[in-house]
């Protein structure tokens, strides 16, 4: 059995990557059918001419950036505080939000906004999507930050206190600079999670705030379209690059603040 492990692993990796690779290859197919007819950039060009797609992409970017900014700041502060002293209530709440099925989170937010807006006369829109995204992105940031802090040398903080820095100054001048690569990695993770979300977004988005996943879903529902292929390839490559960047950052700074 052990002898076949490498072959099995190769097959497993093939299984994981071939759908995306196939998609990539056929995004250059000049025919709409699943038979190779020739190479073309057509579909990619069409993506950029599709105003609905472009608008949706812009919405997704705005939402992802806003949600990432808020989640990263709030999550970093919380992760730091939890590292200093545990709070079972908060930790379990975060854990619960991770375990909650997206559909439940989505409908509950929809119900919440609907109830809230009876009193506030506000509609569903980008703002509700951003709030929703913050609610489920937060836990990812906290996890990443806590993981980084676990290997943080706390004598550095003590040294800073000893030299006259208050707790806030310690955080600001020592901890955050050292944690920066981890913070950025958390932000990149947050961005990809937010950018890709469909279920929750589709439930709480208003009429005018279609996101890219919503458009792709509608197109996929209708059938396979080469434009979606091209778009998918671009998104996959883009997000993949972000994730690789995040991974690089994690590795590079990993040595600096290690405990001796």
């Amino acid at each position: 059995m052990k002898r076949f492990l490498p072959e099995y692993a190769a097959a497993a990796y093939l299984f994981l990557y071939s759908p995306l690779v196939v998609l990539g290859i056929f995004s250059f197919n000049s025919s709409k059918v699943a038979i190779w007819r020739g190479f073309t950039w057509d579909w990619y060009i069409r993506v950029f001419q599709n105003s609905a797609l472009l608008d949706a992409t812009l919405n997704s970017l705005i939402i992802a950036c806003a949600a990432t900014l808020v989640s990263t700041i709030i999550g970093t502060l919380a992760g730091y505080a939890l590292w200093k002293k545990r709070s079972p209530i908060l930790t379990n709440s975060l854990y619960l939000s991770l375990m909650t099925p997206e559909i439940v989170a989505g409908v509950s937010l929809l119900a919440f906004f609907e109830w809230l807006f009876r009193f506030l006369h506000v509609q569903l829109g980008m703002h509700t999507v951003i709030l929703a995204h913050v609610s489920f992105c937060l836990v990812y940031v906290v996890i990443v930050i806590l993981a980084r802090l676990r290997t943080f040398d706390s004598s550095l903080e003590e040294a800073a206190l000893d030299l006259g820095a208050t707790e806030w100054q310690v955080f600001r001048y020592v901890t955050v600079p050292m944690l920066l690569p981890g913070i950025i990695a958390a932000a990149l993770l947050c961005f990809t999670v937010s950018f890709d979300d469909y279920v929750i977004t589709s439930l709480v988005a208003g009429v005018n705030s279609e996101t890219l996943p919503m458009v792709i879903y509608a197109m996929a529902r209708k059938g396979v379209s080469p434009e979606v292929n091209a778009l998918s390839v671009m998104i996959t490559v883009g997000l993949g690059v972000l994730i690789l960047l995040a991974g690089r950052l994690e590795q590079r700074s990993g040595g600096k603040a290690r405990r001796p």
Binding site: D153, S155, L156, E158, A159, A160, L161, D162, L163, G164, A165, T166, Q169, Y173, V174, P177, M178, K256, A257, P260
Partner: protein, 325 residues
Amino acid sequence: MESVLELRDLTKHYPTHQAVNCISLCIKPGEFFSLVGPSGCGKTTTLRLIAGFEAPTSGEILLNGNSVTSLPPYRRDVNTVFQSYALFPHLTVVQNVAFGLERRRRESKIEIREKVKRALALVQLSGKESRLPSQISGGERQRVALARSLVLEPQVLLLDEPLSALDPKLRKQMRGELKSLQRRVGIAFLFVTHDQEEALSLSDRMAVMNGGRLEQIGAPRELYQQPKSRFAAEFLGEVNWINGTGVRPEATRISSNSPGDSVSSFTAVVEGSTFLGDCVHVQTRLPDGAQCTAELRRQECPFRTGDPVYVWWHASDELHFPIND
């Protein structure tokens, strides 16, 4: 003389054990004071209590007569040199040294630059200003740690085993430099170590700790020659225990012929010898089974294994303890 640092009945209990048990001591201004003891005796905990990283269960810490027990570390006029130096990896040497001054906001930028320059010159590190901690050697990092604390001119400098991370030769060299540095700066040093030789050679006064308690305080010579407890005697050097009396190897005489009736001597058989560079230790065994080591200040052992010898000492070299151990 007023004490610069005073500990009054300082105690720290943990749920599992008592780390520090009712410690009281005074450190005089400008004094080089060492706290020695085996690992786990509570000396580092004591240091952390003084620095403010832990709160005592009971007792008081006074700095120049004022209680600082309830103050956080950044409000106490003491600074610490950590065992791992704890230099900020993302800051250069200069930025590390200037860190405390910048937080204090008492000095202008120009004054800070001047003070940092002087502090680096004091520890002989001028020229490495813009290096990062990862780019300098262990010994140099230690100097940065010293400069970083001394530039703030604290009342007391706390040093937590600062030399233990260095290799033996560098350790010996740094010992001398540390002592002369302290003399030049004139600040009281509270030096924590498990190395009794270090403490004996550096301190004006020292204290031996064991199991959270202070065994004895005094000048190094006093502690070495007149230990008040068996533990202190054994910790600070080697002791031969013969018939309930303790004698140091360097005070133990050995010869093939009987020394006569003016001193009480014991017969023994040579078991072996160890060459220590500047002397030789001859291990012998007495008839009742006790071991006795005699130190000979020469390069060779004139006895062979199995030789019968006499061991004796002068009564004035005996170690006596006020309480029965």
